[in-house]
Every structure is written in C-alpha cells, then in structure tokens.
C-alpha cells in the first residue's frame, strides 16, 4: 500500500493526479461507504453520498494542508456530506430530524439490502435515539473498530470526551435492547 505522504504528493501533482486519485478511490471506497451507510441507512442514498464525497475530495485536494491524516480528512468530508444529506432530506420532506430518523429505520424492514434480524433492527432503532455525534462515536468504535485517537481527529473531539460518550452510548443501547 502506497505511503500516505507519497499519495498526497502525487494527488497534488497534475501529472500524477489522475492515477493517484484512482488509488485513493480504490483504497478508501469501502471504508467510506460503510461509514456513510451507517449514517444514511439506505444503500442508494449511501451510493449518492459516497460519490459526492469523492467528487468533493477531488475538487478540494489542493486545499488539503496535511495538518491531519489523509483518511481523517476523508472521513470528515464523508461525515459532513452524510449529515448534510439528511438535513436536506428532512427539509425536502418537511419533517423534523427525529421523525426522519424514525422513518428511515421503519423503512429498513422493507429494504432489500437490509439483511438484519429482529435484534439488529432493534439496534438501529436504539441508534436512532442517540444524538448524532454519540451515534457516530459508537459506530466508528464498535463496528469500524477505529482507535480513539483516529476518531478524535475525525470528529475533532478529545479522546476523553469520546470515551465518555461511547460508554454512555453502550449503556443506552443495552437498556433499549433489554426493554420490551
């Protein structure tokens, strides 16, 4: 796998940019897809947001200063694009954020690309009850097994705050799953 520093240099060089961008897409497409999917829940929406994310990355690569890791920057763009997508969706439907989240979870039951059982569906309902940031912390830590230090770079939150948020998220989800 190409070193991140080398990849960034090649992305900023007009001659090697196309090839470097192809490497970037192939390296990160799956990880970013699952990160986005856990936010927007629906495959078609995740597909749209993923493409928009990479287009935004492509247009702004010259603005990447290298102060954070490349993948932290990618994750930040993907997160912002996903949350913006949801805001626009709720505005379009004329409903609030929470109602949108509830509808999205309800729609999972009929979603051909959701293969979860009853407990996995209930998990999604529990996650829909969490504040956006807390849900992100949980999914990035629990499902994507990211290190706190990396999550801290993406969400620009201290490690201590993240640990506390994750702890609370686990408690809330467990309580929800145990309830009838």
């Amino acid at each position: 796998m190409i070193a991140e520093e080398t990849l960034v240099q090649e992305l900023k060089d007009q001659k090697s940019q196309a090839k470097a961008f192809e490497v970037l897409v192939n390296t990160y497409k799956e990880r970013l897809y699952w990160h986005i999917r856990r936010i927007v829940l629906n495959h078609d929406d995740a597909d749209d947001v993923l493409q928009n994310t990479f287009i935004k990355v492509y247009k702004n690569i010259d603005g990447f200063k290298g102060e954070s890791k490349l993948y932290s920057w990618l994750y930040r763009i993907a997160t912002n694009e996903s949350l913006t997508f949801l805001k626009q969706k709720s505005k379009k439907l004329g409903i609030g954020d929470q109602e949108l989240k509830d509808r999205m979870v309800e729609n999972l039951q009929a979603d051909v690309y959701f293969e979860g059982d009853a407990i996995q569906l209930k998990l999604q309902k529990a996650l829909a009850e969490l504040p956006d940031k807390q849900k992100l912390v949980f999914t990035m830590k629990y499902f994507q097994e990211m290190k706190y230090e990396d999550i801290s770079e993406v969400l620009e939150t201290s490690v201590g705050a993240l640990k506390a948020s994750y702890h609370l998220a686990v408690k809330k989800i467990e309580a929800y799953l145990k309830a009838d």
């Binding site: 999917r37 989800i173 467990e174």
Partner: protein, 177 residues
C-alpha cells in the same frame, strides 16, 4: 493524607493526580465489557452484488473527462482574462457616469409634439399586449385615444362578441345581500 483547609474531610495522597488515569482505565475496561454485551456484532446491512467493483470506475468517470485526462482545477489564463474584462467594463461604466450630466433628462423635458413625431416616424414593434404590460392602466385615458367616447354600451357589446366564458374575466364575486 491531603487535608482540605475548609473542612475536615481528607483524601488519600495523590488521589486527584491519579484520578484521570484511573478513570480512563475503567472506561477502557467497560469497552471490553461492551464487546461481550447483548449488542449484535454486525448491523445487518448488505450491498448489491459486485457493487464495490463498479463504484470505483463510476466515481472516476465523474472526475475525469476522458481516459487519463484530468479536468484542470484552475485555469489561470482564463481567470486573468476574465478579471481584466470585468475591470475594463467597470472603468468604462464609471467613466461614463463621471462625465454624465447632473440633471437627467425626463419626459417632462420633451414636448408632446416631439413625442408624437417620434411615434409617427418609428413604427413601434411592440404589440398592443406588450404596450399594455408596461403602461399602467390608470395612466391610459382611453377616451383621449378614441374618436367616439367609450360608454358602457360599447363595452358590453364588445364583451358579448369576444368573450366566450364570463369566468375568464376574473370578476370578483359581489355579495348583494
């Protein structure tokens, strides 16, 4: 033991200094506990077959115009030509305004005969509908333009001959009760 000056409660030596470390350690332990909890290990999401093989080329097709060719992110010569054009326009507009008379010409400055002569010499390409759009109804003195005075009988006769559906007139409903 550390003594608090304000009350008689004590704490073990180094209690506050080591607090953060002990807290983080406990939170780390609770992470391990979470992984053994009732929370499912997977979330049940799936993708269409072959999705990840096709999404890469799809993304690349939206960011390059043709194979191997990259859309330039910035085109410096075009930027400078554009900026120069805008600057030139601004200079011309500013210069014209600078030299303009302080007293603008209005229609009051023109004699009616001059206006009449203009319209006779220049056949207006505007249709009557287009003229009606720019001239307010209140400004039009219809009887000034007609050889005969327009009375209600003339109006009713015109409407009878030219209007198929009275609803097209958008008349307000008047409650006579």
């Amino acid at each position: 033991m550390k003594k608090d000056k304000k009350n008689s409660f004590n704490t073990p030596e180094g209690y506050f200094e080591s607090f953060n470390e002990r807290l983080m350690s406990r939170l780390g332990q609770e992470e391990t506990d979470a992984s053994e909890s009732i929370i499912p290990k997977t979330d049940g999401f799936g993708v269409p077959p072959g999705y990840f093989e096709t999404i890469g080329p799809t993304i690349l097709s939206k960011t390059t115009t043709e194979k191997g060719k990259v859309i330039p992110l910035r085109s410096y010569p075009k930027f400078y030509y554009g900026a120069a054009a805008v600057a030139a326009v601004l200079i011309i507009v500013f210069g014209l305004n600078w030299n303009a008379k302080t007293d603008p010409v209005t229609f009051d400055d023109l004699a009616n005969t001059e206006i009449d002569a203009y319209f006779e010499a220049n056949a207006s390409e505007l249709t009557s509908y287009e003229l009606a759009e720019v001239v307010a109804l209140e400004d039009i003195q219809l009887n000034d333009m007609l050889e005969e005075d327009l009375n209600n009988e003339h109006i009713l006769e015109y409407l009878d001959e030219n209007v198929d559906d009275v609803r097209d007139l958008n008349l307000e409903e008047i409650d006579y009760e």
